[in-house]
């Protein structure tokens, strides 16, 4: 409101308003549902959704759930039944795994945890739950500060397949891409580990001899 009105009234306005100006005022109108456009915008900036058209992202945004979490709140627990794939809208999330060898005092409070990763904005987790039947969470996710997550759940995927098959296919393609990448890096790691293991076995044999 402020910057538009000049001191001297004699500023000659253009005969016709520029399309850009109209567009600007139209978009800044409080009646415009700008809130709804934020989620497609957010999804646009995520690499795995790069194949989606704007309209498809808009359709997808109707099928997702926004969930807000307080600091320290558990998003899901290891061993729970999982049905959801989460994207971080803002905030940080920690992924932790219970230690394999539980100590002799195996009360639930004294369980030891290993920090796997700390995730931040635009990161995603829990994608396996979307594809597996009766998926069990392999790690615990905890909100590190107040955060907002975008969740896509199995029933939403079923509904998407039923109503918008193309969007569903693209979503599945994106999720498979994530998983394929992860599988690739894991096989690579396994290769390295196997190599190291065989080396160590050889060393052992040499020592025995």
């Amino acid at each position: 409101m402020g910057g538009f009105k000049h001191d001297n009234e004699e500023v000659d306005l253009p005969e016709r308003l520029h399309i850009g100006v109209i567009k600007y005022f139209w978009q800044s109108s409080p009646y415009n549902p700008s809130k709804k456009t934020t989620i497609p915008h957010f999804l646009r900036n995520i690499i795995v959704f790069k194949d989606f058209s704007d309209y498809e992202l808009y359709l997808l945004s109707k099928f997702i759930h926004e969930r807000t979490y307080e600091n320290g709140e558990i998003i899901f627990k290891q061993g729970d039944l999982g049905i959801g794939f989460y994207l971080i809208y803002y905030g940080n999330v920690e992924i932790i795994v219970e230690k394999e060898n539980p100590s002799s005092t195996s009360t639930t409070e004294n369980l030891e945890y290993n920090l796997v990763t700390c995730l931040e904005k635009k990161d995603y987790f829990g994608e396996l739950a979307l594809l597996q039947e009766n998926s069990i969470r392999s790690a615990t996710a905890i909100a590190k500060n107040a955060c907002k997550l975008i969740g896509i759940f199995k029933p939403d995927l079923d509904e998407l397949i039923r109503v918008h098959p193309v969007v569903a296919t693209k979503l599945l393609q994106s999720v498979s891409m994530i998983i394929a990448e992860r599988l690739y890096s894991i096989t690579k790691e396994v290769k390295v580990l196997k190599y190291k293991l065989s080396k160590m076995e050889q060393l052992n044999e040499n020592e025995v001899k």
């Binding site: 759930h65 969930r67 307080e70 998003i75 069990i136 759940f153 039923r162």
Partner: protein, 346 residues
């Protein structure tokens, strides 16, 4: 900090469950509301699977719902215009018919009495027969007296049910989303999974039952029509509706047909055996082909549990309870299994 968080969490959970309990209690206590709600929900489940097909054709959801609604209206107006006179006529004929049935039963009974007296020398007491007859006629009268009352509520339903159905179809998706927003975080995934499973179970079951019942009804109707039996349409509708009730249903549907066949044609006539064979064939087709393909996949309940839940359902909700009891039992089983896993671990 931690304490505050915990109390906040607890508040959310208490609020959520309180809301659910209050809503269910409110609807439960008002049958005038709950019956149309239930009927429109069942209709919604039957109609809803067509919406994605229309959306795939490129219609907006709103337009798709309007198209479905208009076609439903047209489809239901045709039977009202064409069939109501025939149904009315048939029902009226039934009214004229009942005394005929009564006298038939009486003469038959007297004949049997004579035969028994001749052959065994025992006179059967008339009391039992009279009591049975009075019981049957009394109940029939009760039903006929209640018809105006039923018609009045039918008129109310005629306005309320389409209204509810329309908005269920149009906004059902967003209703679900709003309710899910209220679910507290720590039970969100489980609640969503469970409610979705339950909904799917009930929806699939009702859709399958609808198709099964209409197949049986059409077979009976066409068969009776071809045999030239009276009240073919009425008997077809009765067969379709009674088919929904598991195990008992087919016999209930057969009963009026047997009475009609006996009274109209007698026990040795070809029509009577034709009716029996037709009902047998319809039920064999139902149990042999339609039921295994459509329904049995959806509910794997033991027959004992099926019968028990039908009895419980009929006790509390009458006919509607009989229909809804099986999917509810399946849903209950699912919920119990889930809670069991929650407590005892997988």
């Amino acid at each position: 900090m931690k304490m505050r968080l915990n109390s906040n969490k607890r508040k959310r959970i208490i609020f959520f469950f309180l809301l659910i309990v209050i809503c269910i209690g409110f609807i439960w206590s008002l049958p005038r509301l709950s019956i149309p709600l239930m009927i429109s929900y069942v209709l919604y489940l039957i109609v809803e699977p067509t919406i994605p097909h229309l959306i795939k054709l490129g219609f907006e959801r709103n337009l798709a719902v309007i198209i479905i609604f208009l076609s439903l209206a047209i489809i239901s107006i045709i039977p009202v215009v064409v069939l109501v006179p025939t149904i009315k006529m048939e029902v009226e004929n039934v009214g004229i018919y009942l005394p005929k049935v009564e006298t038939y039963v009486k003469t038959e009974y007297e004949e049997i009495q004579q035969i028994v007296l001749q052959k065994a020398g025992i006179e059967i007491n008339n009391e039992y027969f009279k009591n049975a007859l009075i019981y049957v006629t009394d109940n029939l009268q009760k039903i006929i007296i209640n018809i105006p009352k039923l018609l009045a509520s039918l008129l109310e339903w005629l306005l309320v049910i389409p209204f509810l159905l329309f908005f269920f179809l149009r906004d059902g998706f967003s209703f679900k989303r709003v309710i899910l927003k209220l679910v507290p975080n720590e039970i969100f995934e489980r609640t969503y999974y469970l409610s979705n499973e339950l909904n799917k179970k009930i929806g699939d079951y009702i859709f399958a039952k609808f198709i099964e019942a209409s197949i049986v009804g059409i077979i009976i109707f066409v068969g009776l029509l071809l045999m030239g039996v009276r009240f073919a349409f009425l008997l077809g509708i009765i067969a379709a509706f009674t088919n929904i009730v598991p195990y008992l249903g087919p016999f209930l549907g057969l009963l009026p047909a047997i009475i009609l066949g006996l009274v109209e044609h007698g026990i040795q006539s070809p029509e009577f055996s034709g009716i029996l064979i037709l009902y047998l064939a319809a039920n064999i087709i139902d149990l042999g082909f339609v039921f295994p393909i459509l329904v049995s996949k959806m509910v794997n309940l033991h027959p004992i549990i099926v019968v028990i839940s039908v009895i419980i359902g009929s006790h509390y909700f009458g006919v509607a309870g009989m229909i809804i009891s099986i999917p509810l039992a399946a849903a209950f089983k699912l919920a119990v299994a889930q809670i069991y896993f929650e407590i005892y671990g997988r």
